[in-house]
Symmetry: D2
Subunit: 348 residues, 4 copies
């Protein structure tokens, strides 16, 4: 692979949220990409660093309205918009340039399933057929050819990466899968709400969306594709008093008499040559991956209960959002897949 002799033009649609600023944090040091435009309908006219003062002197670009962008001039657009808003832009821009959509609008198989779980009408049902589910470890080749990539949800990223090899190898009973997942609060977004009010989160912990969280269906569909038929999972998210990170503890009953070594070997084969999967000899903690694009995986076979237990850890804003989006961009632009994603986990 030869190095590009130019900088690709990338623009970020939606600047005020955490995914927007996190894409900027990564791209600003990407050797082959320049940030051309950043948009915000509500803050147009201000500098990007007015909204995100950590960027003062680093990225002071003025915020523009989306309508002002010459889309066809861009090599890639990142849509860092809320669910329901993104679909409108995708409908309008599809085919004009490469799109990485970080919303949930095109992650599922079709509009019916979407409307059932998101309780929202979809305005661009054709998009589902065009979108590739942007998980490079599973769909790298399709992503490289795609004009529209649906960047995976944060919980699904940790959950699917932790379980895919087990289901691909038919090591576990698919209907026994239970995923007990815990996320930092940035998953709830930048907007102030009771959910993210400091004293409601700090020194606290709780489960939510029990039995009905919409990431359930995203996990079920992707694991089902791997497994070959419908997969039903129990998924329970919890809110951690931390900024960043998802840790998923997944349980499944073994379908075969396999040793821990055999399972680890199967996982390593499944993920061979994947730059961002790390196998750990001890259960990972959130800070081991914080700020980076790694997904750390720990595998345990419990001989008493005949269950596989997998612990997977990611930074929800990087591997679970902006980092995975840049990884997808690299593949779509024909770049080396890990370029610009060399952030070392920030610990402590």
């Amino acid at each position: 692979m030869s190095l590009p002799n130019k900088k690709y033009k990338a623009s970020i649609i939606g600047a005020s949220g955490y995914t927007g600023s996190e894409i900027a944090r990564i791209l600003v040091n990407h050797p082959f990409v320049s940030i051309e435009h950043i948009t915000s309908e509500t803050h147009a006219g201000k500098a990007f660093s007015d909204l995100h003062p950590q960027f003062v002197g680093i990225l002071d670009l003025p915020l523009e309205r989306a309508a002002e962008i010459d889309v066809e001039e861009q090599d890639v657009l990142f849509l860092a918009l809320p669910h329901g808003v993104s679909m409108e832009f995708v409908r309008q821009w599809y085919g004009k340039t490469k799109l990485v959509d970080l919303s949930g609008d095109f992650r599922l198989s079709n509009a019916t399933v979407y409307e059932d779980w998101y309780k929202k009408r979809h305005v661009y049902a054709e998009g589902f057929g065009k979108a590739v589910y942007g998980m490079p470890e599973l769909h790298g080749e399709a992503i490289a050819q795609a004009d529209l990539v649906a960047n995976p949800g944060c919980y699904p990223t940790a959950s699917i990466l932790g379980l895919a090899p087990a289901l691909a190898g038919e090591l576990v009973h698919a209907d026994s899968v239970i995923i007990d997942a815990k996320s930092g609060t940035t998953g709830a977004g930048v907007k102030a709400s009771d959910t993210t009010h400091f004293s409601n989160v700090n020194e606290n912990f709780r489960a939510y969306g029990i039995g009905n969280h919409r990431h359930t269906i995203e996990i079920e569909e992707q694991l089902g594709l791997i497994q070959g038929n419908r997969c039903q999972v129990q998924f329970t998210p919890h809110l951690l008093p931390v900024d960043r990170g998802i840790l998923a503890t997944a349980y499944a009953s073994l379908a075969k008499d396999v040793s821990e070594e055999q399972v680890v070997a199967a996982y390593k084969t499944f993920y061979r040559e994947q730059p961002f999967i790390r196998f750990r000899k001890q259960a990972p903690s959130l800070k081991d991956v914080r700020g980076s694009n790694y997904c750390d995986i720990f595998i345990h076979i419990d001989p008493r209960t005949k269950r596989l237990i997998v612990v997977s850890a990611i930074d929800n804003l990087v591997k679970g959002a902006a980092g995975q989006a840049v990884h997808n961009m690299n593949l779509m632009l024909g770049l080396e897949q890990a370029v610009g994603l060399d952030q070392v986990p920030m610990k402590p």
Copy 2:
């Protein structure tokens, strides 16, 4: 029940840890009990409030050596000592006064099981036959007659209270039980260690003791007693970046076709007249019970997966240790069981 016309004499053996100071926090305002002695082998001579400055002006009692206490003069002793240390004192003092042991030394059924899971020789195997497992909701009458109460572990308290009615009513398959539990760091004790080093815990989260934590057997034995035969559970503890609290998310496959309402009704019947069990319409958070002796329980039936999901929340230092110990003491002394335990949860 008539009010006592005297103050009972209570002493705390082991002052430096969190359970010791938490018993003091509760007893100092108990209307029918006075704190007579507090011991510490390493800090004897200092004031209790030198070790725990929050007690300056409230409880400045000098710390004594355990050997200096006239045990028979006390109405009750709280042993707030590490596992392995407590058994020696129990051997020596059993029968001389009422003992509430907060260590794990007498929680299990016999010395063989203990030595298997605790990896430690037991010096007082006879104690197992004498000790009553101090969970008032299950063993209230036996506790009232006991000379030695083994105060339950913190994880087992949340786990067992969350599942006991389901197993008693044979609502779920016993071998399907998975308990994904999360605890604040005070569960790891007062002693500085890598495990409790601020930057290792803060903004972090991890699983530990996967498949082999010793609270597993305590839960299995107690649930087995309720269920009527051996019960095998999957128990995974996690370390939360908070001081206090345990939240247990328990999963079990339904054994019967029951509605959520029926399950809630069965739970309410099981725990009728229990002052510290609260049923919640929404999943509880740790702060809803912080500093108090409540165990908040939320029940959900997932119609898709035919599973019961129970979320239970306690303060590990109160309901999971010192509060439950005082509750046991009240029963042992013939006092109204909730007296002195009216701490309102501290939120925010």
Copy 3:
């Protein structure tokens, strides 16, 4: 002082905020007071415990509208309302029952100063003449006679208690006073905002209101009263990533050649028989007073710089709000001043 043979009737006006729920946390266990009514204009009809689920089973009183309360039937009303809202109720209810106002509406000397610092028109200027500044350590006798008590601000409570004896004894130059104060986020209220958004506070720290925070004038006026003439202080608040607590570090140049022992002695004389002032041999930390009505004070004389340094710590919601309000109520009702305020600091 004889014990009351009845329960006094107290009502809380404004239930949704932290001061409202904290007053309830204290009063629910007060031996001589019953909570009669709790009001909320926006949540009337719900139970108090719907808003504050930590009170489930403890205080499930229905929320009422303020207009529904028969004010004259109450022995005392706590106004836990925002600045600017409270003044209307005080105007309407003054003289009908005893009022403890937790807002800032009557803390200053007159309406002109108020309007200057609060940037808000005052509708009840006469109230300033009627209100007593409710700091029991300074104005206990006047409080006992008052019909309207203006409960002090949280920062002023820590600041004034830390400096009053030094100014009373003319130990320091009044115009040299610098107060660098740090507060937990509950001081910013229960309402979700960017200021209190978890990821804006957590792992973060900042100064705000530099040179113009309105607690400045409250401190200046009260210290001026003690000092005998106008006092100008430098006050800088900071936002800590904790729920509760204020720690004020105050600096002042010595006006006399005094030893640390002499200063400590002067402080102890000034605060003799005050039940909630604790002198500490080491600098206090927030958790030493958390959840309690104590103000812990540490005094240091720096021989190099000839400065007095005072560190004072309170729980902003207790000593800085609800606890001080109940203390004021006790004085107003002729009760023993510390009754119902025996909460032991919650540490850890």
Copy 4:
């Protein structure tokens, strides 16, 4: 400045601490430097990533003993060792290669002052004459010529950068300077202790070292150099419940009648062309600089009190330690001073 056509060889002496791992985090992506050796006397033989699992797959270098390093083969050595240990290595290695010492052993003017404040005998008094104080904004040219750089303390970095221009311009009275500083816990090191025990820090806050912290003399000496004569400051550190960051709030009485604009202009002139000083229009927060080498500065003139208030914020592990060390290395090796230090602050 032409780009180097080779990679310089850097080694890190002392791998277990936070400064060691933080230097590695920066150097691993430095375009012109390779990490040759990392040493640890206690962990020799293990991989660096065994100690710091965030580096798994990134930096798995085996840890060596310091004695095994061929010092003269290295272009630069970073000494990430405790005070008192570092001086021995400096004595042994001075002149053999370029040394950046991150301990406090050579920051002061001479051994007498050192022994007075550090309460420790110094074994290499000649080193003081050879060491350059490694603050690039003040001593860039001397650093470029130095064989031994004493990397500044974390508190002094924030404090001196915040005040240097005011003292250089004689804008304030030197003896009026008060620095109220607040630091995250990583400043206390990687070693578990009561000071860094989670429940002692979390939800807590306290002052320490009042009047006698050894960073006081470091600040006084450096400000004295700028000012032209002895400078006496009041310095009070506090412990924040966060991992990283120092925020210093400095107060000084104005010596001249200057406007805020004039002071800001003087600061900008003083720091012109300095890549890591950022002037802020609002008071900075710790997260604005977290993980980066920036020092954010906010200037306020209080017209009421005639004081200058400066708030400065740094990441104590980067600008206050490892980042400043790499900055010094860049200068010593003749590289562009900001190269490899393009880490964007990690927020949220």
